[in-house]
């Protein structure tokens, strides 16, 4: 693909052509040559969408709830983009992306742009690809963008970092109170939704969540033992506005029954409240800047890693080196120094 075709594709996307939007997301996902130029060209057109991340365990009802959210936003005359991430096979890379089925309220409505993405087996790569896809939807002019992903670990934490508001779905009876103490997605939620609230145990789950949330919000504040390079918590600030009022967002716990739509209105109100809070306190801007900083770092790391991979391949590949290490001819540290040495030298020369 040449530069002219890329420019045309970007123009078509900005002009509102769905096919162009879909194709741009494919290129981003495939990391096709030229995709970087496309994302670069789109950047100046982004920054207007409100991005909501929805995560939770499989079967928590994320897709059904997202469907209802999208329908509500559409009723208000807003346009919606949805990115749903599903896992892929670690063996073949194949995937069945099944969330689309549950988008029943919005079928035939092109102003809800629903896109399935697979994890494609990469950890860091997925969050970059998702962030780039969000940019495409943002530049296209979507008012609300919802990222939906199965929450199980670090992967999802990365993805939801691309969202302005993070909504964590919890199913009644999904573990005892110790589960709630475990680190991970529960720390990143701006609001928690106990879906399927008509099920037994919902009240208990709400109580467990409330208890967890009312503990100290910043778990690393007093317990930083050193060995962990703590990223800034997205909601950390100096704690007060210019006028002295508190600017800490207290995570909310809500109950919904996504299937019947019960509680969805309240959820929308809370999402709106969080969105307004982000604007009033300047947190949206601060978050965006944090995100760009993280993005720059991630890109640099990925590019540097690629550079190193190339150098490795040029020197006969990592297997051969592993073999030599195994034979006690050398050791991993020496190999790393050997490979990186010339690169370091180049950089130093450039700097002078």
């Amino acid at each position: 693909m040449n530069a002219a075709a890329e420019t045309e594709l970007v123009e078509e996307l900005l002009a509102g052509k769905h096919r162009a939007l879909a194709r741009v997301i494919s290129k981003v996902e495939d990391r096709e040559p030229g995709y970087r130029d496309i994302v670069s060209a789109l950047h100046e057109h982004t920054g207007t969408a409100d991005v909501i991340g929805v995560t939770g365990s499989p079967g928590a009802g994320k897709s059904t709830l997202v469907d209802k959210l999208a329908a509500h936003y559409r009723e208000r005359g807003e346009t919606v983009g949805v990115i749903a991430v599903d896992p892929s096979s670690p063996y073949t890379g194949g995937a069945v992306l099944g969330d689309r089925i549950r988008m029943a309220s919005n079928v035939g409505d092109m102003d809800v742009f629903f896109r399935s993405m697979s994890a494609r087996g990469t950890l860091g790569g997925l969050s970059t690809a998702t962030a780039d896809a969000v940019k495409a939807l943002d530049a296209f002019g979507k008012d609300r963008i919802i990222i939906e992903t199965v929450g199980a670990g670090q992967n999802e934490v990365d993805i939801v970092r691309t969202a302005d508001t993070v909504c964590v779905l919890v199913q009644p009876g999904s573990g005892d109170d110790v589960q709630m103490l475990k680190a991970g997605i529960l720390e990143i939620g701006d609001l928690f939704v106990v879906n399927k609230a008509d099920m037994d145990g919902a009240t208990r789950t709400v109580a467990d969540l409330e208890e967890m949330l009312h503990m100290e919000r910043d778990p690393t504040a007093k317990l930083n033992t050193g060995g962990f390079d703590a990223p800034e918590h997205p909601d950390s600030g100096d704690g007060a506005d210019a006028d002295g009022s508190a600017s800490i967002w207290e995570p909310k716990v809500l109950e919904t029954v996504a299937k019947s739509g019960e509680g969805v209105e309240e959820l929308i109100d809370t999402l709106d409240a969080h969105s307004a809070w982000l604007d009033e306190t300047g947190r949206r801007e601060a978050k965006a800047k944090q995100r760009y900083a993280a993005e720059i770092r991630q890109l640099l790391r990925a590019d540097a890693a690629e550079l190193v991979e190339g150098e490795l391949a040029r020197r006969g590949g990592v297997e051969e080196m592993a073999e030599r290490v195994h034979e006690r001819e050398t050791d991993p540290y020496t190999v790393a120094d050997d490979v990186l040495g010339p690169i370091e030298e180049c950089v130093e020369q450039e700097r002078e």
Partner: protein
């Protein structure tokens, strides 16, 4: 470096159009495609042609596999094809039809732009191989 490998991931939409409620075959082919390393989006049952078009366009699929057992292919498939044309998605989408299609209708479908029709008893490998060989270059 699986994500950055030269080979692009093939994306397929497995679609059930119209009123027939039998999706066993669609499930089986979805699974076979998944195991072949494709990314499969399944439409779910009872879809209108517009819904299939919406999904095919938004998901930017390389392959659209339509499963029809109800005999309504002569009315439904042309509608899907027309919709794809409307969004400039017809040219580079490989359209397959699976299900119960009489021979005389098969020719009509192929003339319309369907790449192949797979009847009952077609081995999975044959379909997978066909997709591998004919997935559009982009």
């Amino acid at each position: 470096m699986s994500a950055d490998s030269e080979q692009r991931t093939i994306r397929c939409l497995v679609a059930k159009v119209g009123l027939d409620g039998h999706d066993r075959g669609a499930h089986v082919i979805a699974r076979a495609f998944r195991d072949a390393g494709f990314e499969v989006i399944y439409s779910g049952l009872h879809r209108a042609p517009e819904e299939i078009v919406q999904a095919a366009v938004q998901e930017d699929v390389d392959v659209l596999g339509i499963s029809i057992l109800s005999g309504a292919h002569n009315t439904l498939v042309p509608k899907v094809i027309e919709g794809l044309k409307e969004y400039d998605a017809f040219e580079d989408t490989l359209i397959l039809v699976g299900g119960i299609i009489p021979d005389e209708d098969k020719e009509t479908l192929l003339d319309l732009g369907v790449a192949e029709v797979f009847g009952p008893g077609t081995p999975m490998e044959e379909t997978v191989e066909f997709v591998r060989e004919n997935a559009p270059e982009r």
